[in-house]
């Protein structure tokens, strides 16, 4: 069954007078919202605010009771849902990789159902895996269980791109990941987003994520749209208490000079340490097991540097030990001032630094995270 392409690009998506009831209550009430082609629109709000319902009405996973959703002025009601969905990339929190299919089969499933040729599919899978920094020859034939959480989420992203859709729906795609991993995937996602330049609707409950990724942010509460606009507008001109609360809460301005590195660092864990004699390929497996994107290499007590899994994956070409691969990294004392640490990091172009208390690693400093805690 080959489905025809519905649209090559998104000009706009319009919600007009959308209402969805659940029993007596409203999941979404009288919603008007425009999503502009090419933007990343964040839907955010407390749980039960109707953000996921709104997202799922775009691909007709949920049908509205009243009102219309149009994509490029085509009413979605008049489009076969299967055809509609095959024109939309979909990423969900639990990733939803099919456990009985290899990574390659997972990514190639819809192309296969679209009767694309075996060769085309294989080419596409390879391109996409490379795009999300997973070497195809290493990952294509593995099963999802053999991948770390971060790697699975990358596959989820690659899979959503399989049909090269002009529109992506993402429902808390990084929601299940630990904070540091999350930061790194967000960073990578931003890069990908700028490269593919597609329209993305993104649900999250994490305001930091929203501020980092969103072109515009739509704040929802109790099924209603409270305010929509670019991040700075929400911060400087909040419509009401709730908006001010969401964008501002827990982020009362703190005086930077008085803050120490130890106030803003993430705690260090034993699992971040790798031995310098480890072979690069073994390190990839080890980091996969520990669900790490980045790790620190030590020579006994001596810090050698940092390695990132993305770099190590080229291990097949050369046989190298971590001692040769570790890149230098800034290290700070817990009592250093945050202002000093940040400017040092900025000068060296690093977003990550390690915090050492004499010879003992005690924390990790992530520049974005520090900034967000400060706003």
């Amino acid at each position: 069954m080959q489905t025809q392409r519905l649209f090559d690009r998104i000009d706009s998506i319009q919600f007009r007078g959308i209402t969805k009831k659940y029993g007596e209550g409203f999941a979404v009430k009288d919603l008007d919202l425009e999503i502009i082609g090419g933007e990343l629109l964040i839907l955010i709000g407390p749980s039960g605010s109707g953000k996921t319902t709104t997202l799922r009405m775009i691909n007709r996973m949920i049908e509205q009771d009243e009102g219309s959703v149009t994509i490029n002025e085509i009413d979605t009601k008049n489009v076969d849902p299967v055809r509609l969905r095959r024109n939309i990339g979909y990423v969900i929190q639990n990733i939803g990789l099919f456990p009985h299919m290899t990574i390659g089969e997972n990514i190639g499933l819809v192309p296969k159902l679209e009767k694309q040729s075996k060769n085309d599919i294989e080419e596409r899978v390879k391109t996409l895996l490379e795009f999300v920094s997973l070497p195809p020859e290493m990952f294509m034939n593995r099963y999802p269980k053999q991948l770390s959480g971060g790697q699975q989420q990358r596959v989820g992203l690659a899979r959503a791109m399989a049909m090269d859709p002009p529109l992506f729906l993402m429902d808390e795609p990084f929601g299940a990941l630990d904070p540091i991993l999350r930061k790194q995937l967000q960073k990578e996602f931003l890069k990908i987003k700028n490269e593919i330049n597609r329209t993305i609707v993104f649900v999250t409950h994490d305001i930091e994520e929203a501020l980092v990724l969103g072109d515009r942010i739509a704040i929802m509460d109790q099924g209603k749209l409270v305010q929509v606009g670019p991040p700075e507008e929400l911060i400087f001109n909040p419509e009401n208490e709730l908006v001010a609360d969401i964008v501002d809460n827990q982020r009362k301005f703190k005086h930077m000079d008085t803050l120490k590195v130890k106030d803003l660092m993430s705690p260090f864990e034993e699992k971040y340490i790798l031995d310098l004699k480890t072979q690069a390929c073994d390190a990839v497996d080890e980091m996969t097991n520990r669900d790490l994107e980045t790790a620190f290499v030590f020579d006994g007590d001596e810090l050698l540097g940092q390695v990132e899994i993305v770099d190590l994956m080229k291990c097949r070409d050369r046989e190298e030990k971590l001692s040769e691969l570790a890149k230098p990294i800034k290290s700070f004392q817990p009592t250093d001032s945050v202002a000093f640490a940040l400017s040092e990091m900025k000068n060296s172009g690093k977003y990550l630094a390690i915090v050492m208390n004499s010879k003992k690693p005690v924390g990790i400093l992530v520049s974005d995270e520090v900034l967000l805690k400060l706003i």
Binding site: N59, N94, G96, H100, L109
Partner: protein, 204 residues
């Protein structure tokens, strides 16, 4: 004394009986298990009936065929099927219905039709449970096929009963040993088949 040819003939009859029943059972079970996914009522009836039949002693199921269907191959087949059906239906249904809802949700979200979801998601996810059921049903069918010799199905049971009645150990063993070997064969062959269709993902 039993002639080798008699044993071989009986073994062949036994194999035909067991495998015919097994295939008929699979053919009946899978559509019923899918049906149970759609109708709570059907699910209730199938599960209740299957559980009930399971509770009745095998020999009684075999005996009760005679007044209704007489003797011979067909009544034996029906009797064995009644017992073999349950593990297959039950396991297939459990396998089909125990798929992580997030997977189904995702499959719908990327535009798989209901049929494609059954074919590409539910069925392969049910394979491990299904094969466990089929293997169990096969072993069950093999042992009941011994009993059905009483109602004229032929097979190894006939030789075993001859041996028992005549108190003739060598006759008895000439029937019993192939029956045991068949059971092992069924177990091993289905385990191998299961490994083939359900690759590494099911194990860690």
């Amino acid at each position: 004394m039993v002639v080798l040819e008699t044993v071989l003939d009986a073994t062949w009859e036994h194999i035909v009986l067991v495998y015919t029943t097994l295939f008929v059972s699979i053919a009946v079970s899978i559509p019923l298990a899918f049906g149970a996914l759609y109708s709570k009522k059907l699910e209730f009836i199938i599960m209740k009936f299957a559980n009930l039949v399971q509770a009745v002693p095998s020999f009684a199921v075999v005996a009760i065929m005679v007044p209704f269907l007489g003797i011979g191959f067909t009544p034996a087949l029906v009797a064995i099927m009644l017992r073999a059906l349950l593990p297959i239906i039950k396991n297939t249904y459990i396998g089909l219905s125990n798929v992580d809802p997030a997977l189904i949700d995702y499959a719908e979200g990327v535009g798989l039709s209901q049929w494609q979801i059954h074919r590409h998601i539910r069925l392969p996810n049910a394979y491990p449970a299904m094969f466990a059921g089929i293997k169990f049903a096969g072993i069950l069918a093999n042992s009941i096929a011994v009993l059905t010799a009483f109602i004229g199905s032929g097979g190894l049971g006939e030789i075993i009963f001859q041996g028992l009645i005549g108190y003739n150990t060598s006759t008895l063993l000439a029937g019993a040993i192939p029956a045991i070997m068949l059971a092992i064969l069924i177990d091993v062959s289905f385990t191998m088949l299961e490994k083939k269709v359900t690759p590494e993902y099911s194990s860690e």
